[in-house]
Assembly symmetry: D2
Homo-oligomer: 281 residues x 4
Amino acid sequence: MEIRSFKEVVLKYKTVFFDAYGVLKNHRGLIPGIDKTFEHLDKHNIDYYIVTNDASRSPELLANVYRRKGLTCIDAEKIVSSGMLARDWLYMKIKSGRVAYLGTDESAHYIESTGLKTMPISQLDLDDIDDIRALVFLDDEGFDWNNDINKAVNLLRKKNIPTIVANTDLNYPVSRTDVAVAVGGISDLVERTLGKYFIRFGKPDAQMFMYGYEKACLRQYVHPDEMLMVGDTLFTDIIGGNKFGMDTVLVLSGNTLPENAEMRISYTGIIPTYICESILT
Amino acid sequence: MEIRSFKEVVLKYKTVFFDAYGVLKNHRGLIPGIDKTFEHLDKHNIDYYIVTNDASRSPELLANVYRRKGLTCIDAEKIVSSGMLARDWLYMKIKSGRVAYLGTDESAHYIESTGLKTMPISQLDLDDIDDIRALVFLDDEGFDWNNDINKAVNLLRKKNIPTIVANTDLNYPVSRTDVAVAVGGISDLVERTLGKYFIRFGKPDAQMFMYGYEKACLRQYVHPDEMLMVGDTLFTDIIGGNKFGMDTVLVLSGNTLPENAEMRISYTGIIPTYICESILT
Amino acid sequence: MEIRSFKEVVLKYKTVFFDAYGVLKNHRGLIPGIDKTFEHLDKHNIDYYIVTNDASRSPELLANVYRRKGLTCIDAEKIVSSGMLARDWLYMKIKSGRVAYLGTDESAHYIESTGLKTMPISQLDLDDIDDIRALVFLDDEGFDWNNDINKAVNLLRKKNIPTIVANTDLNYPVSRTDVAVAVGGISDLVERTLGKYFIRFGKPDAQMFMYGYEKACLRQYVHPDEMLMVGDTLFTDIIGGNKFGMDTVLVLSGNTLPENAEMRISYTGIIPTYICESILT
Amino acid sequence: MEIRSFKEVVLKYKTVFFDAYGVLKNHRGLIPGIDKTFEHLDKHNIDYYIVTNDASRSPELLANVYRRKGLTCIDAEKIVSSGMLARDWLYMKIKSGRVAYLGTDESAHYIESTGLKTMPISQLDLDDIDDIRALVFLDDEGFDWNNDINKAVNLLRKKNIPTIVANTDLNYPVSRTDVAVAVGGISDLVERTLGKYFIRFGKPDAQMFMYGYEKACLRQYVHPDEMLMVGDTLFTDIIGGNKFGMDTVLVLSGNTLPENAEMRISYTGIIPTYICESILT
């Protein structure tokens, strides 16, 4: 496939969804020069959202990271995170009681904002779980894996409650070379240990794209085929965008390397509409 | 869990989604007496849809089956089939060329209604595939499995095209005791043989529920928590409805037997809001 | 990794296991010149066996194919096929009654040679299954997939009997470009449709290597680390040989292409002891 | 299926393999009265071995636990642990350098007994890994999951080395109600995070049964169909024993409860030769 200019390709669309890591930022921080790409979008009246598997902190805090680094056009309204889907689910389905979670205090914001009481697994007394109504996997940090993963397993053996995974990713990059296991991987471990089935939110699941789509439509009506998903990963961004009916751009600035993009597309059968070096060009 | 009366439970909801097999019909045909349930719904102004993993024939023909058997309140507008999602995807994403398929002529209606040209795999010449733009798995009938499954495998080895599965079910009942392999199972076989990733439509995927939800909202606005999904299978109907944020009823008139409903709920962690014997009570 | 000369590498070993397809033969037949390699082995007193996932015909008939093409050193004693493991299992575990199968008449030899009565699924009367003691998946040919796969599913729903898969491969090559679904893939389809667990024989499973090892030891005692497995596929030959404790050669004359051998080894973590172009060099 | 007397059933066999947990011991320790069963075996000259997925300590220490509790007939020669297979593999395949591991110091015995140098992941410097030749998952205890699981992931990203799983179990019981995640589950998490393929030792894999079989044959020659595998778990003990060609006993004193044994056998298609309440009867 031909490498295309992102700034040209994007002109055909009304609304763009950007994956965060590998597209807007990398291990060093914001990719230098992307502010010019956002100016280009603003100038051509193209709407945009950051669609990210992340429940580590609130949309406001996620947006602040971009603003502090100089991308002032990003506010909480521009963020679509898998944590928001988990939050809405809890709001709809759990009306009382406490919600246990694995994650940081910051990530617990997603539960607290629904008005529900939260309980970190570390502080949970397994003999006092009558009013525990759900368990949520929010973030890989903020708890002791040795103790709390086993405690989560045994909570679910004692009480059959809905279990929500607020980020389905298996890992995330922490430096140029290193990755860390993400909370999606930890939830898989618990799910397989138990043989149960959890409720999972995050790309490539259609619900994530639908959520972003509805948000975009509140500003201006747009049809899926006037929208573009931009991502660095075939298995989340591209297959998810394709299935939702959007056109897709695979960028080579992150997870998929220029030297094996073609081969991966051919092996997986996951075919982006376009390939671009990055969103800078 | 307590067994509840469906006719009572349903009064709390504005809109109901029914799975077809095991809920409305079984191997003998329509479950006798369900017309009374639909009268009950009409009387209380409760809207309803049949949400079914089926791409074997058009919504019109699917509706006709109910009408012919005396359920005259069902017309094509009441049908939400996984074939309709496949159809819409093709309409959005494929603009020209031919679409290859596995299934009956009747099932090919879903492709033809988009204006695209169709080509059953059996008649495809593997040396003339330049204008083949997609492959669709529609139905388990209408083709020779020995020849045409292998031919589909080799088409996808020769040409990297989007592949759509219009019904994700692994099997379906054909008599009181027997089942048949469904097209979802056949597509799995091809996918695993190739190591590729197909685009799959059908419960429990959220897109199916979203499609029905949007259809329901065209008639009257409804919030997901005012809706009820009724099904006989934990792995498709109940987990899908739960994830979408609807309340759910597990009926014991189909795939889940009264004697092991509790145990399956406990093992799988897939928890319906209610259990009812059937929709008759 | 460095490309090594097979004829040099092999001198360090007492016994060699060869995969068949991609190593000894390809879509055109026997790879020209391999008789010289076998002369080299004979000259240096290196013992050898063909270890193959194949239950399509008896060891005698498998050996005949090589002999007819001029590789006269191959006789039935040199063949280790997954069909032989299935045969031995049936001999040990099934003492009476009939054994149902999917495959050709030739493949049924593996059952008949145990003295058991065979019954092709196509001729089975599902109302007369009292004395059916096992089901065996032998070959992808010799039966009507549309009818007989569903019939196998329903046999196993009616009667809980051991089910044996005599070849675990998902596909096999039929020409330079084309493959066919193998019986291992068909058995997966049936297993997933039912949610049951079958007994599977074939590489990379250790039992296959153990079987060949015991055969080799009957001729002369050998320790696994004096043995070499030669194959073209990381997922069967190499991981299986490695796990059994043998050294392994990945040849680039079949399934693994020279241009992506390194990358596949790195991605999969399946590391052969050596890489050779083919067994000719 | 009829419930049989173990002491009667066992008289037909020359050699018995016992799973440990759920058969010989439970959360309270040794099951009271099993010494009588072992006297029965000794009296009838029936040989026995404990075949266990365990790499937490040496065969000597594993045997000591039984001896200290009064089962004096058990010594290290009677133990077949998955750790022993990992040990033998390392001995055959790794000739120099250091072996990194996750587990307790006691579990590292399996590596040290081969003469290889060991390095707990916690103390490994990721910039000094030139002589690290393999990674071994030994036990779920003895390391900090938060740090060391991620460190193991990044070791394998930096260096493509064989990775051995010395116990494939997903979990193990720690009290009447609670379980803990086992090292097999942790290795799955790392494997899936990386997309790599590890070498796994433990039931139901045939290599485990072969190892025990060879050990038994050193004492007296026995044919697999003169042997009996006794276990409480269909997915490890029973399917593994069945596949190896042994007869099998499912006991109801552990993981499989009397009330759903029949149903699980029917659902899974994993059929033991006999069902016994426990080995006491």
